[in-house]
């Protein structure tokens, strides 16, 4: 065994590196699936929670909407308000056997992380929708769009752009927090790390590798999402749709010149 720190790190990596990389792959996979499915859940819940209730709506619609909103509120509050580790134990060892479901560990991990992320994303999406200028809704309504059309074509694209940083946040949190799923035996990075550290009695060296692996994953994801954000913003400039080259310098304003003097009276 080498006496210097770096040498020992290399030894750990040679023996357990592959296994830890596999674990990192599992962590990343769970985090990505959990974030994507969580976002979908979040959008669904956030959408229902922002359905406007009007006075002229029928009583049945009001009651159904109230009940739905209440159930979704319970979901959001419950999953935000309890630790994910406890939820994992509760669901995997309690709820699933009770309901007679027998998923694989990875499936269970996807499920738990998804509904957990969904609870957080629901609030984020709600905030994203509320952050879009109410004038956008009025503009859409004024050309005859229904609530659903307004949401799909006008509000959600803008809300999505506004909450992209928060989605990135969630992805990074999920990459790291997927480690609590090791309590139900999911073989992700931290699980593999514990195994390696325990076998060699070299905690410092093993966890050094683990930290580096987590950091590479989160940093790569945050850069990737920043790039996606820039893509969503589109180009800073635009092409004038004209062949008149003078237009590029004149600002193309000639319309209404003749009547302008009259208006200023």
């Amino acid at each position: 065994m080498p006496t210097d720190f770096l040498g020992r790190v290399m030894v750990v990596f040679q023996r357990y590196g592959m296994s830890m990389l596999q674990g990192a792959g599992v962590s990343l996979k769970i985090a990505i699936v959990g974030t994507i499915v969580g976002c979908l859940i979040g959008f669904a819940v956030g959408l229902v929670q922002t359905i406007p209730m009007e006075e002229k709506d029928s009583l049945a619609k009001k009651i159904v909407l109230r009940v739905f909103k209440f159930i979704l509120n319970v979901y959001v509050e419950f999953f935000r308000g309890t630790p994910m580790m406890a939820q994992a134990m509760f669901i995997y060892f309690g709820l699933f056997p009770l309901m007679g479901i027998n998923p694989t560990m990875t499936q269970a991990a996807y499920f738990i992380l998804s509904i957990n992320t969904g609870a957080y994303m629901a609030e984020t999406v709600r905030g994203g929708i509320l952050s879009v200028d109410p004038g956008q809704t009025e503009g859409a309504k004024a050309i005859g769009m229904t609530h659903v059309q307004t949401m799909i074509y006008v509000i959600l694209p803008q809300a999505l752009r506004n909450i992209m940083p928060q989605i990135g946040n969630n992805l990074i949190i999920n990459i790291k927090d997927s480690c609590v799923l090791s309590v139900i035996g999911v073989a992700e990075l931290l699980y593999k790390t514990k195994a390696a550290a325990g076998a060699l009695y070299m905690n410092f060296e093993t966890y050094t590798i683990t930290m580096i692996m987590y950091f590479i994953m989160t940093f790569a994801c945050s850069r990737l999402l920043r790039w996606v954000e820039n893509r969503m913003d589109g180009a800073d400039n635009y092409d004038l749709a004209t062949t008149d080259t003078l237009a590029h310098t004149s600002g193309m304003y000639s319309y209404g010149d003749k009547t302008k003097k009259k208006e200023e009276e």
Partner: protein, 247 residues
């Protein structure tokens, strides 16, 4: 039911909680009318216009569109709105779309036109307002006057029966006001039915066929522009217009 009127507003009232904003409003709009609603800020002009488009639900009263009361429950409000266009003070262009897409989306999604036809139609109206070269721009990249002209094109592209303007020039500088009013004058000449809430008195006098003067939530006086501007009967109208007439 009289159906020669496009819009007939009768006994319309609106209150927000205990605060009464509109009281017993009556007026009618016929095809080709240009109705200007004038009055001091806070007199309820904008609320009235928003009620006409059902962006605010009237507390009592009726809004008859070709004889059908659109305030009654069960009326397809979006379908009604697609026939009554609206232009806002703050433009309200869709920020996530280009100028062209702004003018297309309503046609394809609401009127279910195919994309080619919608694009051709959108180009026709964008050319009319002088914004055709800017079809690829996003709303944040163009000036206020340009935004408002696009907003007018967007409303026109739906080929509505009535166009509502809610202080379309209040957020603009004098030159941009000129651009937008020029477009609106053209529309008036073409015989498009319009209801315009405005503070541009010269414009109201020259363009409208009917003027409604509002004060404190009621219609104080209404009539032909020559009557209202030339010989106002009520004290409040005289006072409101005094500065304009002297100038």
């Amino acid at each position: 039911m009289a159906s020669e009127h496009v819009l007939e507003i009768s006994h319309l009232s609106k209150s927000f909680g205990k605060h009464v904003v509109l009281r017993d409003i009556d007026f009618t709009v016929n095809t080709g009318d240009v109705t200007c609603i004038i009055g001091a800020s806070g007199s309820g002009k904008s609320t009235l216009l928003r009620c006409v488009n059902m962006l605010e639900t009237p507390t009592t009263g009726e809004i008859l569109y070709h004889g059908n009361d659109i305030t009654s429950p069960g009326v397809n409000v979006p379908a009604y709105r697609s026939k009554v266009g609206m232009v806002f003070q703050s433009f309200n262009l869709f920020n996530n779309m280009t100028v062209l897409e702004n003018c297309i989306v309503g046609q394809t999604k609401v009127l279910k036109k195919n994309k080619e036809e919608a694009k051709k139609n959108a180009m026709k109206y964008l050319e009319k307002v002088g914004m055709a070269p800017y079809i690829n721009a996003k709303p944040r990249q163009i000036s206020g006057g340009q935004k408002q002209r696009v907003a007018i094109a967007r409303a026109l592209a739906m080929e509505p029966e009535v166009l509502l303007f809610d202080e379309p020039t209040s957020a603009l500088d004098p030159q941009m006001v000129g651009e937008v009013l020029a477009v609106m004058r053209t529309l008036a000449k073409e015989g498009i039915t319009m209801i315009i809430v405005t503070h541009e008195m010269a414009f109201a006098r020259d363009v409208s066929s009917h003027v409604v003067f509002m004060a404190d939530g009621v219609i104080e006086e209404q009539g032909k522009p020559e009557e209202i501007f030339g010989n106002p009967q009520k004290a409040k109208t005289q006072e409101f217009l005094s500065r304009f007439i002297q100038g």
